[in-house]
């Protein structure tokens, strides 16, 4: 069992990890940049170390500073959270080389599934349906056009090293594909330092459905059911829920088994999310694996009653998955709204600033995951996610009603937040009737 963990992250996920560690009797070391100095959640850790200035490159994403902090505080493990270095194979490798347990997959498994092209190939091998696409990396525009015409427009150019919805461009014909190809490569280079791209058929109006999986190094893997994350704005998830409201039991089981096959094929361990697109005919296609814990993990925790962060810590500490699949039950409906410090009225421009009044909602069926407090200042250095509101009720209608009530109660002022946008979505006829897809927001708002 792990005895001391350094949390290589910040904000709400750092607090989430500290909470799980405390309940398990694991000591915690939090790190912070100068921009996060004074954050109250740092006081909940046993120790807090300043590792650098606000710029993430010199703090939260600086491998030398993180490892150094880990060494001087004598931790035996590092939890990378999500974002930052969570899916950085080099970081995972260096932790291993330094004798520090990385709470996540091995560098090899991360490398294998983190490369979208290799993951596709592995999926095919494991008998998991994939989106029709290129056999590998597309070298240039000429090849792109050839492949696109073979699989049929519209197509999407995607970064091999990508994630988080970046380095992606849709094209409907040869001419727009030329531009799309160049743009996607450039964005991929800028965002991930790797300009390699591949091509996939662009599925029209798909639902985004992902399966939560936890595996151990002994080859055991369990699924914790699916989440529907179709409510996205420019590929950024806004609202997530479980179960997927349009899947029947047979399809749900088939989806989950596909996810498990892929994870086992990759000899993956710890937490992962396998992402699929669901088309109008309820056919699903694998797109990618996220080799980390995700922002929306609380949705799964609410419907299964399982603590996913604790599972991560247990697996990393050497415990096997001593749980049977049958013992993981799915109860009711959970919905999560991500609250960002952005102004919906001005095209979601970021709204940094000081929070003078902060009153999070409560009551039955409501969970709020946030690191914020009254008096906090939202800076421009990090992403704009400031809170997650998760509700859990026996039915979808009740969950929506509770979420509306909770969001109406939630006071964050004077900065602008996306709460009004979430409320609009929750009352939208199409959302309530489950007639949504990943283009819903971009089309209607």
């Amino acid at each position: 069992m792990i005895s001391r963990v350094l949390i290589a992250n910040r904000g709400e996920i750092a607090l989430r990890i500290i909470r799980a560690c405390r309940e398990m009797g694991i000591e915690t070391v939090a790190v912070y940049s100068e921009a996060d100095k004074g954050s109250p959640y740092l006081d909940f850790a046993d120790e807090a170390i300043c590792i650098g200035p606000a710029d993430p490159a010199q703090s939260y994403r600086s491998i030398p500073r993180l490892i150094s902090a880990a060494e001087i505080t004598d931790v035996d493990a590092i939890h990378p959270g999500y974002g930052f270095l969570a899916e950085n194979e080099e970081f995972a490798q260096i932790c291993q080389d330094c004798g520090i347990t990385f709470i996540g997959p091995s560098p090899q498994a991360m490398r294998l599934l983190g490369d979208k092209v290799q993951a596709r190939a592995l999926a095919l091998h494991a008998g998991v349906p994939v989106v029709p696409g290129s056999d590998g990396i597309i070298k240039d525009e000429v090849e792109a056009i050839k492949v696109a015409n073979k699989i049929g427009y519209p197509v999407i150019v995607k970064a091999a090293a990508g994630g988080g919805g970046r380095g992606m461009r849709v094209a409907h014909n040869d001419i727009s594909l030329r531009t799309a190809f160049g743009a996607a490569c450039a964005e991929a280079e800028a965002a991930f330092g790797d300009s390699r791209v591949y091509l996939e058929k662009y599925i029209l109006e798909p639902r985004h459905v992902e399966v939560q999986v936890i595996a151990d190094p002994q080859g055991n893997a369990l699924h914790f059911y699916e989440r529907d994350c179709s409510i996205q704005r420019r590929h950024q998830k806004m609202i997530e829920e479980s179960p997927c409201p349009v899947l029947d039991q047979k399809d749900r089981e088939s989806l989950a088994q596909s996810a498990l096959r892929l994870i086992k094929e990759a000899r993956y361990s710890n937490a992962a999310t396998v992402e699929f697109l669901l088309d109008k005919d309820m056919a699903f296609y694998f797109i990618e694996v996220n080799t980390r814990i995700q922002v929306e993990h609380p949705v799964t925790e609410m419907v299964t009653g399982q603590d996913l962060i604790k599972w991560q810590l247990k697996i990393a500490g050497g415990q096997t998955l001593d749980l049977r699949q049958k013992a993981i039950k799915h109860n009711g409906v959970a919905i999560e709204c991500r609250i960002n410090a952005e102004d919906p009225a001005t095209n979601f421009t970021p709204c940094p600033g000081k929070i003078d009044r902060f009153l999070p909602p409560g009551g039955p069926g409501v969970r709020v995951d946030t690191h914020l407090w009254q008096g906090a200042t939202i800076s421009t250095h990090y992403d704009s996610l400031i809170a997650k509101v998760i509700v859990h009720q026996p039915t979808r209608a009740e969950a929506i009603a509770t979420m509306r009530r909770a969001l109406q109660e939630f006071v964050i002022s004077p900065i602008k937040t996306t709460i009004p946008a979430c409320l609009e979505i929750l009352s939208h006829n199409l959302y309530v009737k489950n007639k949504v897809d990943t283009g819903f927001i971009d089309r209607n708002f």
């Binding site: 000591e27 850790a45 046993d46 300043c50 590792i51 490892i67 150094s68 505080t73």
Partner: protein, 160 residues
């Protein structure tokens, strides 16, 4: 034990606590009795309270003496012309290049911007830290072998 002898024993214990934890002043009241001890500070310029450099010290738990936010009992520079050299890295502070070498600088040493004042070891690499300021060392704020965090004050320098 006679009352006077037990008083003396208590005072000796307090002195030991002060030295161990680098405290400047300690006051103890017990009923009618009151003991107040102040330690002479050759390096101090002011006796004002030092705010903790990080929030970690507030939470109990580990008794790690390498904790970078441990109380140092050194006063904050209020005088003009005093500049702090702060750690640009996270790591272990060393005053000299090796265990048998002389310290790079001491109180009273004169430094210029390019002069190496200490080493911070990070990930098995010894990083030489330059003064980046010109003046005289007035205080050494970190102990040899102490873990230091980013931004932690290491030296106080009176600028030229």
């Amino acid at each position: 034990m006679t009352p006077e002898a037990s008083d003396l024993k208590r005072i000796k214990e307090l002195i030991q606590i002060m030295e161990e934890h680098d405290l400047v002043e300690i006051q103890m009241e017990h009923g009618q009795d009151k003991v107040c001890l102040k330690r002479a500070q050759p390096q101090a310029t002011n006796v004002t309270a030092l705010p903790m450099p990080g929030p970690a010290g507030a939470v109990g738990g580990t008794a790690r003496s390498t904790g970078p936010a441990g109380a140092q009992g050194q006063p904050l520079p209020q005088e003009e012309g005093l500049v702090e050299i702060k750690a640009p890295l996270v790591g272990t502070f060393y005053q000299a290049s090796g265990p048998d070498s002389d310290p790079y600088v001491e109180v009273g040493s004169h430094v210029d911007a390019q002069m190496v004042v200490c080493v911070i070891e990070a990930m098995k690499v010894m990083n030489e830290i330059k003064a980046e300021t010109s003046g005289t060392i007035m205080a050494v704020l970190a102990r040899n072998g102490q873990a230091v965090q980013y931004g932690q004050p290491l030296f106080r320098v009176r600028s030229d």
